[in-house]
Subunit: 140 residues, 2 copies
């Protein structure tokens, strides 16, 4: 099984964190099926051009999260992801992305009104502009 992980050498984000984030996403999104045998830590490390220990840490962290199941001498497998965990993951991913966007807006002194306007415009464009305009007070 080839695992498509993309490492950005220039990023200040720690290596293990880049791998962990992407692998977690692949598992929870279902792109890697439950029960799949992941590459050995040596093979994975070779492909990513990093140390065996770094991959080991990723596997261990994700096992602690319940996403992986590891057996010494045998290998590391993808565990089942409950619907609750999947929902939690989606929520967190969206929440963090929005949070970052709002931070950026504030850093350039964008007003709340401007921000809301931009957001509605983007949502309307990306989602087709029909659905959930709940409480639609902003018709601008």
């Amino acid at each position: 099984m080839r695992i498509p992980i993309q490492i950005n050498e220039n990023s200040a984000e720690p290596l293990y964190h880049q791998i962990e984030t992407q692998l977690r996403s692949l598992i929870i999104s279902g792109q890697i099926e439950e029960g799949t045998l992941l590459p050995s830590i040596r093979e994975f490390a070779g492909g990513l051009n990093c140390s065996v220990i770094t991959v080991r840490r990723v596997y261990q962290d994700l096992e602690n999260e319940g996403l992986l199941r590891t057996r010494q001498g045998t290998g590391t497998f993808v565990a089942g992801v409950g619907e609750q965990a999947r929902a939690q993951f989606k929520h967190d991913a969206v929440f963090k992305a929005l949070e970052a966007a709002v931070d950026t807006a504030q850093s350039v002194h964008c007003s709340e009104e401007e921000l809301r306007s931009m957001f509605f415009k983007i949502v309307e464009k990306k989602y087709g502009g029909k659905g959930g305009e709940i409480g639609g007070e902003s018709s601008d």
Copy 2:
């Protein structure tokens, strides 16, 4: 002088790196004028809710880049930014952004042809699709 730095607590990007990147941008873009006295490391650290040493490192790094001028017992000032440095900064910023975009393309197995096609389309859209195509007198 208030320095608008936005810290993302959740980011895996090191604290000093977040501060450094944003302050560098403020200086080179000219949003902070040459000769400006920056906050003392204690005042700055207090505002950012971090250690004095972290701010000290940022000031030192930027001084090594020639962007700041520091005098013990007095304070830290913004140095002049030459046109060359400004150009270099712009170049690096664009280069890194493009690099990241290409990395992303590769991570989703986008072919070079597709990538080039998308790029040309975007450039045409963003720049109006008229002017300098392959002129060659670019800086570099």
